[in-house]
Symmetry: C2
Subunit: 210 residues, 2 copies
DNA sequence: GGTTGTCCTGGTCGATTGTCCAAGTCAAGT
DNA sequence: ACTTGACTTGGACAATCGACCAGGACAACC
């Protein structure tokens, strides 16, 4: 095999761990399986990572980042009325989820594992801090492109968004009913629209005054 | 130790497995740990269960039943207006959840494990079929005691309820913020009230006609 | 060309796991 | 009292795991 500087080898092993764990579950991501997936001999893993836990933490960090990029990457916004903006945002979000079943399931496995094993202590809370922040960014986006503000505190609303997406995603992982998940999320989107108050009047007035 | 007929011994072992797994996680529920928790020697487990998987399936069935009983057991209903009924139902439900952190986390561990391991294939879908049915029963209850019907199909609404409760529960398991979870669920309850249409007129009319 | 340090090899170790078994114990029925 | 069958015991087994190490291979630099 070709020699690599340790930093690049780490990235490769993280990718391999992600592939194994997404495909076969977190329990299948043994040191040996990861080494085999990367086409590397056993000792390399312990040369690049002190622990198996350090590898898992790095993998968790990687998948969390990937999830956030996927959530915020697309978002084509053309419409301006709140209902349409929210609908298209949810559609893009849900499409991203349903196309990554393995990583999605792995995320929940990581969350529960983190809550049980002290070595992965910070993983779960980092996942959710990231998701809550991402949800707030989505709220910002809708605010700006639909010219609305929210009648509910942003933090509360962001937490609700994450909870609802989590809940429907989990149910979809179990029974595979994509239509039910999509419909449920769109129903939540219509609720979201009811707590969006048109800010055009006050905003325009403020802009005019300035 | 005292001798027991195999049926009772099975129940005892299921309880022991539930205790170990709720306290230390599903991975800690090894055959040896369960036997030790029950104060029984190693071979007894394989005398009562063919597999470790059969024990885990029995444990999953037990915790699912327990969760459903907990969700439907209490529910003190005095108020008659939809908002109050829904509020008290959600309060009781959330109280039940926050007082059983271990079993709640174990439920999610079982769900993800079921989705990865073929031996636990049916566990997750049974969990959710039970929860969806329970949510429909709660909707029935609210219907009858608040004299409303729903402007959204029951199945859809039940699925949404389970998703929202799941989502907020998971977030609470991660960051432990009980107030945020309670507020979020009550906010969802107020949304639920908006899709409840007062059926008193038609119901009374129908009753009068009959 | 020799030296130094980085990177890789593949085998070994102890611990833990699920599974199995030969033997022991005890209560019930004859 | 004795036999039968149900229940229990505790050790042994192979498999798998994370961790470790002595040494080989290679590139870069003096």
């Amino acid at each position: 095999m070709n020699r690599l500087p340790v930093a690049e080898r780490r990235e490769q092993l993280i990718e391999a761990a992600l592939a194994v764990a997404s495909r076969d579950g977190i329990d299948a991501a043994t040191v040996r399986a990861v080494a085999a997936e990367a086409g590397v001999s056993l000792g390399v893993v312990h040369y690049c990572f002190q622990d198996k836990d350090e590898l898992l933490r790095a993998m968790a960090h990687a998948i969390t980042s990937a999830n956030l990029e996927r959530s915020l990457g697309e978002l084509p916004l053309e419409a301006t009325d709140p209902e349409s903006v929210i609908e298209s945002v949810i559609d893009a979000l849900w499409t991203g989820i349903r196309e990554s079943r393995g990583p999605q399931l792995l995320s929940y496995e990581l969350t529960t594992s983190s809550l049980r094993h002290a070595e992965l202590n910070q993983v779960a809370i980092e996942q959710y801090r990231g998701q809550w922040a991402a949800a707030e960014q989505v709220l910002d986006l809708v605010e700006r492109s639909a010219h609305v503000s929210w009648s509910v505190p942003r933090g509360t609303l962001a937490r609700t968004i994450v909870a609802v997406v989590d809940g429907f995603s989990l149910a979809w992982l179990v029974d595979g009913d994509s239509e039910a998940a999509r419909n449920g999320l769109q129903g939540f989107g219509r609720f979201l629209a009811t707590v969006a108050i048109p800010a055009s009047l006050e905003a325009d007035a403020a802009a005019t005054l300035a």
